[in-house]
Symmetry: D2
Subunit: 474 residues, 4 copies
């Protein structure tokens, strides 16, 4: 690069300010609200991908926790009211999303979340300094550690913020599940009267209705909503006041209860402080449980999508009992082909989530002594999985289930041809005779009814009555 | 093989009886209570390892379900009272364990559990025939399918029996967890006053007590007991009356409620019939949740065992804060070496269970349409994992935790040398100054207190007061 | 318990001998070849399930390693020739399986395999003592540690024996894979000329032959054989001579090469000593790779079994392109139903192996410093998975694939009805026109050919030529 | 929204062009190089996160494949030379990265990669049209399906491009592994002479050198490089010419070989066409193997990072045998605390990769019949995992290992205090006596040497000689 160019680059280089930490000095962009700790973290953690600022829910939660802490410290007389007020206002702006781009650190980071906490401390300190009329970096007035982190530690701030963020994400997942539940419910009602053959182990079994099939899916998603709500309940237990390891070193005796109350007011969520803060600070059980619950929902809907793909297989050489809406051309080479792309998307999200649950499990097991240093990967895995699942479920409802149609001709034809009738005959003519009839019907490619009548097991009237009974379905 | 030998073998071959199924005739040992369906299954499923009869809980549950069904059918007038009574008595003998060896089929089997159900039908039919004075195989009197399976299907009998078996196993796990909880609780009390250094990320942090460390473990196991009880609650929902796919084909309208009531009486467990039997028959959600809950407990105790191994590392070149009881010579080559073999066992059981949970997850996802054909591997994985964990937890309590000793000299020395004191000074002298002191103390291998006094940040009296405060631990 | 009873018990109690270890004295049954270390291990590890003696391959391997070590020590003059000879003979009897029941310790054990190694040392010492004319326990003559473990450590003996055992098991898996490969190959030949519709994403695609479908399975299993052989190659690297941590403490400089040579002779396997014994002693990479390779084979055959179950779905309301042999009655309630029980078994074994691979992965990650203490659960998981897969593959070949039949009528009908013909037309009439034709054919339930002719895109002759071309399949 | 506002919006709305597919018409931004198929895909797949265009390697590979295909088609006389030349030039610009932002579709997508293939077809067609002097969308001149996809299908283009992309990513991982290997190697040399205590099961074992410890890590990473190269070799097998399901429908007989040759020239990679294209088109074995190999490397380095964190624990109340470079302030509350943030990052990436490998496994198992529809999630998981691991390994080398220092005082002290000396004495004084000495030394907190001399097992001279021998380490 030539001299002129480099001179120009120097001239046009963005202005910086100098900050210091235990490692020495470090230049940060003068305009940045973040400071030296964030700068170090950006240098250390270079995975790319999701940054803290990409999670609206996490940034909001950090703002909420810092706001509650400032209020508690103000109440305790540990923080000057003017400073507390400035922090309060700064947090509000962080909460609503005005500063998301000031959280540039990778969600997956070493250090147990320290960089995320310090990033929040720095950004909020500098916004508050602005409110107070000071330039960025005037930490002698308002210090990221001494004022913004007062009575706090990464080890109580970070898990608390992560829990709040997961509650928000899970709430969105619940909404998405509700959308899907209702879509299945509408189809269950629509398909109520359509008789079809039920199948076990992919083999023809006994009759049922297509409505029952979709009602099953509706119930499944409803049960998973209930389980998710139960798992979410455990996220309301926070450990603010624990500081480093749960012993509450450097906190005022009344701090924990004050900060909890303020946070409850700010978030409008019922929150409780863990009974034992040492335990709560190292425990990842609530995350493991949430992950397992999300995985359960994913696995069950993956099974449902497998069913949808199977039932819509064809159009000619498959079951073709239902048709899914065409969402895009299915093939670059096969004209007219339409594929079940939305169920396939849900399957893949489920496969992702099975993997993410394992990441959470392994990370939880790896905690040591008073802390689990791997909470960042737990948080990022859960946030990612929950977001993906919410999107996938909504898509499944709106882009697929809502426009599923029954292929009534095919359904009727299969139902009529079934050997499941032999099951209904079994209590009347005995299991052995019914087996023989079924076998003969398959061998000779005839209907069970024909064989039964031929062999004189039943009269025509008796048979008709039985069939009607076998199809008495809701 | 020579003529004579083979003649002799023929002479001494055990007598057989001939039974028939849809595939034709099949000889079974004359003395066997099981019949043709079991014989086919033994030939088809040859994995070795756990057989149905190896699970006391599952055989008991099969007996209980068949007993309840016979009573319900008797009440409905579908089963002759004499036959019902004979079945009842036969079931009692199966329930108490007199016929476990008559369940020789591999737990992992194809066919969605049909072989297990038919094995039970055959064994109980033949015991009942004995009670009624008939020889084995006199199925014209009492038939495995027509009488023992009356109003039933594998698809409602098998999952119900598996749930009962899992409840029994889980109950044993709860007992074992209680034993472990109490062991940790006793140590928490014993070590209450012993100050030590707390660690985050394996780096020295701030003081705590050894009692707090063990109290954490006590609380953790208690929380997992609560979660396990919640997961077990979902196992009380059964689907008897569903028959093949949940539509209740071949069942009397009152059968489901009658059989539920009898089963409740027999098992002394509160049972409910699923609101939607089609859904309940294909859903594996309760198994996935139970598996996840067991895994959570395993993962958390694995972390605790990692801690115990770390805290007992040494004896000279490690932390050596506690000593574990010697259970066996630790090395074939290193005299005097004693290893933490019990925690290592628990770790390995946890690793097994992490794998088994994945097996359950993958098998649950693989269900298709009206049934999950892979319930046998789900059942065997859960039964295995729960049994191993119960044994491992009991062993951890009795063979390890109960005899843990505090190495008080080492604990005291570490606590005194810590730089965690700088944390306690931080609110007084500021984070920056405290950082500087800590860094200097480490550099010069002196105590934090020395450096603080040298630099005049505090007087000797002020420092003493602070230290006392920092160590105010419960 | 009353006096008389206890007296009687004492009278009839089996005679014991007293042995000693670092923990003190311990009575063992006088007849037992195992001693105090084994007794401690039995008491410590109570999981039940697979014992060391249940793995023929592992007991054989332990005998081989001890035999090679004795010969090396004899060559070096460290072991008296008479003693070496007695050990040699004792090892031979262990190798052939005369003493399997003398290895009663659970495969999953704490202590990194020490108990397995000491069990072998004790059993072989006592057999050798018998050969020498001494009673069991005469360790002053021949000592389990000093003679049987001479120049050895659990940390080189155990992984070496595990590798030899895995080689034997893997060899059996290879044989089973070959059986399965040939079965698929025979079907590929048999079905060579049978045209069918190919499917992508469960949607009708373009024509192929049923022979190509089975040829694919044949190739897949062949590729997995090749990969397995590559993974097995890494098991030929052993670390005998490493002793405790790889530094070779207490070994003669020539021991490592001598013992390797003897072991090579005894096992008839090409063996190499790891270039760096410190690395080799802690590394579990060869196990992780083997596990992944076995998992790959399991996953691929699980997919194949999914295909077989799908292709044989029906008999009426499914694809019904092939029929699987009936192996047992399929249902306790549905007469005539036959299920794909063998493919279902293979699926479940695959699910087990996916879980076991995870157990191996997690255990490998948990190694610390100079050793992985969790090799026992790695060994037991691999031995179990490989054994199950070998059985499952053989069963799939002999009990299922060999008797698969093509349902030619169904295959032909599907092939004729397909819209895949539109693909073959695409290069001639253009993708857009072909799309339109395919869409119209589906809408109006007519054949693609009809629509093409109707719209005049092609003459009848042109169409015939194209179809013939599209079906030119090997 | 008011009239004025909407008018304004209409005025300022970006201009569009109208494209058509089987679903009808669709407006796309006039400036976009992508067209209707991409537009549909963007609407269908809304997960956010990684887009195709975020993977430089994948976009490059798509350009390379399309270029090779155009050249092959030109050679066969199927594509007009002018059009082929325009496509060629367009591909070059895609290859170098000028159009990455034109690939906006989510990497995780339904449809087996069709949207990615069609995205490439559209973008390259429109660039080529520009070269030819036509506006975007002039598909009557150059058509995304008919010209860009000529002789191709998603099912051969997509997996081939994914393999090329994975080769490029894996190559970067190899470079990163080499950096790490060298870093460990330098430390192994630097620490060659430093004696320390080796540990098994976290218990003191026998002496070794710190150099041996780091040499182990160097060897491990080297072995994983070799395994990765082997796994990469399987990615050189491509299936171009397979089209939809491997039967080569719509391809010229010479196309497969021609396109392979051109692609080899363009990529400078040795490529082979799979022997059986039907098998190759559905097989995901190469991906499963690559994933397992990457996981193996991740797991092993995670173990190494666990070691580094353990060895650097302290600074006072830990092992403190090495110090890691300080990368950032370690705590928001504990001044002076420095954490092992880089190893913690590597651990977390390893946990991610363990999860991603599971996602790949489950997705591979889910393939059906002639295709695996879930290759997109396989591709995205592998690309993500490999990229993260490459970054993490480089970071571990440059930000951590390079600046590790030995804490020689601590190392020496531990080595001197060890009871491992008893092991070296065992061959001389016997295992039993050595055990007794070790036990006494621990009990009385004395050195092994003291006890041996006191008990007269050895003279002072004999002891000195032995110790010297025991520490003869490379």
């Amino acid at each position: 690069m030539g001299g002129l160019a480099s001179t120009r680059m120097t001239e046009s280089a963005p202005p910086t300010r100098r900050e210091h930490d235990v490692l020495g000095g470090c230049d940060v962009p003068a305009e940045a609200y973040w400071g030296v700790h964030t700068a170090r973290a950006m240098r250390n953690f270079r995975l790319g991908g999701d940054r803290v600022g990409d999670s609206r829910a996490l940034v909001r939660a950090l703002g909420q926790v810092k706001k509650a802490a400032a209020r508690a410290n103000r109440d305790l007389g540990l923080l000057d009211p003017d400073k507390a007020f400035a922090i309060d206002q700064a947090c509000d702006r962080v909460i609503v999303g005005d500063f998301d781009e000031q959280f540039p650190v990778s969600l997956v980071q070493g250090g147990a979340g320290t960089s995320t906490n310090m990033n929040a401390n720095e950004v909020i300190a500098n916004i508050a300094l602005e409110h107070l009329g000071y330039p960025r970096g005037a930490y002698e007035v308002l210090h990221p550690n001494e004022h913004l982190n007062l009575g706090q530690s990464t080890n109580d701030v970070y898990p608390t913020a992560v829990k709040l963020a997961l509650l928000e994400s899970s709430q969105q997942l619940l909404v998405s599940m509700q959308t899907l539940k209702q879509a299945f419910g509408r189809k269950a009602a629509e398909f109520r009267g359509i008789v079809k053959v039920g199948r076990t182990q992919l083999q023809d079994a006994v009759p049922m209705t297509l409505g029952q099939e979709f009602r099953t899916y509706e119930i499944m998603i409803g049960e998973d909503q209930a389980r998710l709500r139960e798992a979410m309940a455990h996220l309301h237990e926070i450990n603010l006041g624990a500081t480093a390891i749960g012993t509450g070193v450097n906190t005022h005796p009344q701090y924990a209860e004050l900060v909890r109350g303020h946070l409850e007011g700010i978030t409008e969520l019922p929150l409780v402080t863990a009974a034992d803060l040492v335990e709560a600070t190292q425990d990842c059980g609530a995350f493991v449980l949430l992950s397992a619950t999300v995985k359960r929902a994913a696995v069950k809907m993956s099974k449902v999508c497998n069913d949808l793909r199977l039932l819509s297989s064809g159009p000619r050489a498959g079951l073709a009992e239902i048709s899914l809406p065409a969402r895009q051309a299915g093939s670059s080479i096969m004209p007219g082909k339409v594929n079940p792309v939305i169920p396939e998307l849900v399957n893949q999200v489920a496969f992702e989530i099975i993997g993410l649950d394992l990441t959470v499990t392994v990370a939880a097991e790896a905690g040591q002594l008073q802390l689990n240093a791997f909470e960042p990967v737990i948080a990022s895995s859960l946030l990612r999985g929950i977001r993906h699942l919410a999107i996938a479920f909504e898509s499944l409802a709106l882009d697929c289930v809502d426009d599923i149609h029954a292929q009534e001709d095919n359904l009727r034809e299969f139902a009529a041809s079934g050997i499941g009738l032999a099951t209904a005959l079994s209590p009347v003519i005995g299991y052995a005779a019914a087996s023989e009839v079924a076998t003969e019907a398959m061998r000779s490619r005839r209907s069970v009814l024909d064989v039964v009548l031929e062999r004189g097991y039943l009269s025509s009237d008796e048979a008709s009555a039985l069939i009607a009974g076998g199809l008495t379905l809701n």
